[in-house]
């Protein structure tokens, strides 16, 4: 049953599709309006990260850094050390892929208040091919001390998360992506860093997902509703992980599937396995990229080909209940 406390949109299964990056572009504008110290740095991808409006509205706070992801991260750290709230923007495969060590030392070790935005994550860069896609970013950020890791579910949540991470004092990585995907949260759906959301309550199995996989999970749950009572959790914060919500859920259901547009190693599935392994071990299945690279293609087709669809989830749910 849908959790009405979250004020999701009414007609979930006919949700409007909007790119998550649009929500980010609007969110950073709002954050900049609220806090005069918010600045944006970008590595030659202004339009891709939806920063045109920010650039126009706040030209004195917009810094074009060229194709210099490593320098950009360090410059942001220096700005943060001087009181600014810098948002560092590029594709996730470069940011934090290319500038991980700068993130580790100049930002996280020094506790500099930098917000790292990984765009076009997962299959977001579909046709550009696998080296432009990103299935490792959650793993390589989650492991760094002092860093919060956020993966919003949709465009509206990306907007709210952007405002929330600007207000939070400390380093944050947020992964967003490009393709238009269903928006299930509404303007009044709450968002709190570190607080997972039980979007659909069920008693037979837990489906913990992040990003676009949450919608696939809701669809799978709906399609199986006459046979299985599926609980769907939107784990929008990968770190700190909401252990309490997960444990409470699997205590009830006794089994869990995780789903993410990311490697099954080290991301959401890895994080959930770690905490449940210690607190509440239950049978578990991880859905995601199975230790492999992607390829060129339409993002939607790629999700299907690599087993990240509601149909595949339904099969896995039935298999686990067998």
């Amino acid at each position: 049953m849908i959790n009405y406390n979250l004020h999701l949109i009414e007609d979930i299964y006919n949700a409007e599709k909007i790119p998550m990056r649009d929500g980010y572009g609007n969110g950073i504008l709002e954050a900049a309006k609220r806090d005069g110290e918010v600045v944006a740095l970008v590595a030659d991808l202004t339009d891709s990260l939806k920063l045109e409006a920010f650039k126009k509205e706040y030209p004195g706070r917009f810094w074009e850094m060229g194709i210099q992801e490593q320098n950009m991260m360090g410059v942001a750290a220096g700005m943060a050390a001087s009181g600014k709230v810098p948002f560092v923007n590029s594709f996730a495969c470069f940011n934090p892929g290319r500038n991980w060590e700068q993130l580790r030392v100049a930002v996280c070790l020094s506790r500099n208040n930098v917000k790292v935005i990984g765009g076009h994550s997962g299959f977001g860069n579909g046709v550009d091919g696998t080296n432009q896609q990103s299935f490792e970013d959650l793993a390589i950020t989650r492991v760094i001390p002092n860093l919060v890791v956020v993966a919003p579910v949709d465009s509206e949540q990306a907007r709210k998360a952007t405002i929330a991470i600007a207000e939070y004092i400390g380093p944050v990585y947020m992964r967003i992506t490009k393709p238009a995907r269903p928006v299930v949260t509404s303007r009044i759906t709450p968002f709190e860093i570190g607080k997972a959301q039980v979007m659909r309550e069920g008693k037979d199995i837990t489906l913990a997902a992040c990003g676009a996989m949450v919608y696939e999970a809701l669809e799978a749950a709906e399609n199986l509703k006459d046979r299985v009572d599926v609980e769907v959790i939107n784990v929008h914060t990968i770190k700190p992980m909401d252990v309490q919500t997960l444990v409470r859920s699997v205590k009830k259901t006794g089994r869990i599937i995780t789903a993410e547009e990311h490697s099954i190693i080290g991301g959401l599935g890895g994080a959930v396995a770690e905490v449940l392994g210690e607190h509440m071990p239950v049978p578990m299945l991880r859905m995601g990229m199975k230790d492999r690279f992607g390829e060129s293609g339409d993002p939607g087709d790629l999700l299907e080909k690599y087993g990240l669809s509601s149909e595949e989830m339904e099969k896995n749910i039935l298999k686990m209940l067998d």
Binding site: M72, G78, S110
Partner: protein, 282 residues
Amino acid sequence: MDFPALAEKANEIRETIIKILTNAGTGHPAGALGSADFWTLLYFGGLIKYDAKNPWWEERDRVVLSAGHYCPVLYTVLAEAGFFPKEELMTLRQINSRLQGHPVARCVPGIETSSGPLGQGISQAVGMALAGKMDNKKWKVICFMGDGEQDEGQVWEAYMSASKYKLNNLLIVIDRNNIQIDGHTEDVMPLEPLRDKLQSFGLNVLEIDGHNLEQIEEAFGMAKVNFNKPSVIVLKTIPGKGVDFMENEPSWHGKAPGIGEAVQALNELEEIQTLGGKVIND
């Protein structure tokens, strides 16, 4: 300015460096000894604004140590200047000490950035200088780098951005001592013609004898005069300066002296004449 007194002070700082590295049993003596004259003049010759009792004073000049392995000399001058008790220097590199082998930002009064991974400090210095410009601040940023550090690609990214944004509130100092861990810089990864490279990246370049206090002071003055470019002072120094068996010897880049070597080094330092020291490449 009382240069002879400052030269004497630099020598005391060298002695302290030898003592704390010997006590730690590990660390990097060559660069610390070679740049001691510069650091002494920076903190005790009136070149920068700071308040040791209020280390994070908003109007302070930002001193960014990009080459983190030089920290024995920076820790020593900071302690001498009163940022923290001098006795603490003997805890360098030991467990439970805030004086880590490579510095961590703001864990020690006066340490602005975490450094060790080379090339990162200059980017942070660029970020500070940009923030200073955004807020119309009068403070300036001094970024100290090694010459081996120039191997890092990030350094040249940072120079491009410093030049693009005309950061005349940024002063870069490169310790040109010609050594790095694996040997002489021109063997490991040639840097020359360094001046031409720096100039072609849009920097105002000043090359001086890094042991000549008058030249250092003059270079700081000349760097200030340039209104639309970041400046870089290339300090030509002798690594291990003041200790004969360490001078120009790459093996002393990252090795602490033993007790016997330390005694010999301290004896030599008592006799050193810092002013007018010979400089390689000249």
